[in-house]
């Protein structure tokens, strides 16, 4: 059993590294504790800055420091994996309403987008059904790249200069995905209809586009099937080219 004073000393030392409030710990050498604080600060600050290069650039130095210092002092980091700490930073900023405080409505989505680039780059390989490059576009179930995140944004932080994104508020669907061959992270924009279809294809991977068509027609109240099929044909071929659709599921 640890003595209560040993526990307190360990807590105080760890808390000092974050807050800078000098603890009274017996036997410490003059001037040495600040090195610990400096080292911890460098590691965390470097990790967060590297993860959010765009946010770092568009916030003023005062804004960035205000968030970072409070995060550093207040936030109890939960992940043992340092590279995942930026995700906790995103949640912290979102939950503390900095978007409102700084009058930057797009701030949360910008952070989320920057985090997802890291997340998709690093995420474990998903298992895909066996696929081939020969098949029928509408009749065969298609295998969609699952090393990806399909998201909805209100602010097109990925498309326009940040000065413009507020006036362009709307519904933006995009897939952030990792190319199977190269591991490169890319993103592609979708209409709501395409986003719906892609999500259904990811979830129901034994269904073909033809199987999904009746549901799609009623969901979007579409009458002209021919036009839709032409348009889907074009969309699906593009998705093949971009590596979003990997192939036709082996039968």
């Amino acid at each position: 059993m640890l003595r209560p004073d040993t526990i307190k000393i360990q807590h105080d030392l760890a808390m000092y590294c974050r807050s800078g409030d000098a603890p009274t710990i017996p036997g410490t050498s003059e001037g040495r504790l600040p090195h610990y604080r400096r080292l911890v600060l460098n590691v965390v600050s470097g990790t967060i800055s590297q993860a959010y290069p765009i946010t770092r650039k568009v916030l003023s130095e005062e804004e960035w420091q205000e968030i970072f210092v409070r995060f550093f002092v207040e936030h109890d980091a939960q992940t043992p994996m340092l590279w995942k700490l930026p995700y906790e930073y995103y949640l912290y900023v979102r939950d503390h309403d900095y978007a409102v405080k700084f009058n930057k409505a797009w701030l949360n989505e910008l952070l989320w987008f920057e985090w997802l680039e890291i997340d998709v780059h690093m995420m474990p390989d998903e298992k895909h059904e066996a696929y081939t490059d020969r098949g029928e576009l509408f009749l065969d179930p298609l295998v969609v790249n699952k090393d990806s995140r399909l998201i909805h944004l209100e602010y097109p932080v990925h498309l326009y200069p940040l000065a413009e994104v507020e006036e362009r508020k709307g519904n933006y669907y995009l897939l952030i995905y990792r190319e199977q061959e190269t591991g490169t992270v890319r993103f592609v924009n979708f209409s709501v209809l395409h986003a719906w279809l892609l999500e259904r294809m990811q979830l129901a991977d034994q269904l073909s586009v033809k199987d999904l068509l009746p549901e799609l027609l009623s969901e979007f109240q579409i009458q002209n099937v021919d036009t839709l099929e032409n348009q889907l044909n074009k969309f699906l071929l593009e998705m093949f080219d971009d590596g979003v659709i990997l192939g036709f599921r082996n039968r």
């Binding site: 640890l2 003595r3 030392l13 043992p80 700490l85 690093m122 090393d147 591991g183």
Partner: protein, 274 residues
Amino acid sequence: MIGLGFRRDFSKELIEGDLLKADFIEFAPENWMEVGGQWGRIVKEATERYPVHAHGLSLSIGSPEELDYDFLGRIKTFLKEYGIDVYSEHLSFAKAANAHIYDLLPVPFREDAVQHVAKRIRQVQDFLERKIAIENVSYYTPVAAEMDEATFIRSVVEEADCNLLLDVNNVYVNAFNHNYDAKEFISQLPLERVVYLHMAGHEQVEPDLIIDTHGQPIIDPVYDLFDWCIQRIKPVPVLLERDFNYEDLEQMQDELTKLKNISKKHWEVTYAEA
């Protein structure tokens, strides 16, 4: 066996190139576990090419709070997935008051801490179903110490019945910073338990303070200490740690070569040319 800590910056060179010749590599599980894509492939290729040791950063063996069994389970999965037998951690804490610090903080050298840390090491060993090695860390100030560092280390590893990862550079750094004799210190450790050695460079930031940066080449006095030390232990793997300044890989290879030459001098049996 002379190994090199595996870092992203020179991972490709280690796998495909011929600038760096290591007999084994060491992974920090925290940086490489549960990762896919390009880096996942690199982990796989590296583990196919080299024998691998795992050296943890965030388990926080010295924490006052409960062991993180969820995380420990994930480490176990990582070790199993890549067939890694050797796992080590630091005699320090990196988490307290329910928060990770991402640095190695010194545990108070006290009897209650000895019992506490030793118990946690035994729990980890039971869970991972293997003996682990515990590394002596560098530190910049004593923290409420009630015994000397060598006694603390010896007591913990003997009480836990674990192995010792002796970081020779850390001994040098501590001897300098805390004004003790490095050789005398090493002599007080349970050297029969040493299964692994670390070597690294450091940086002197003040007349009386060295920071253990792993960013510079190993300095001669640390080679000398290594030379002296390995005459007193059985042949074990030796690892070069470098965490910054990777520009000059040839210089890093020189360090590996130098470590190998010193090792050969005293551990000839192990390194007899085939």
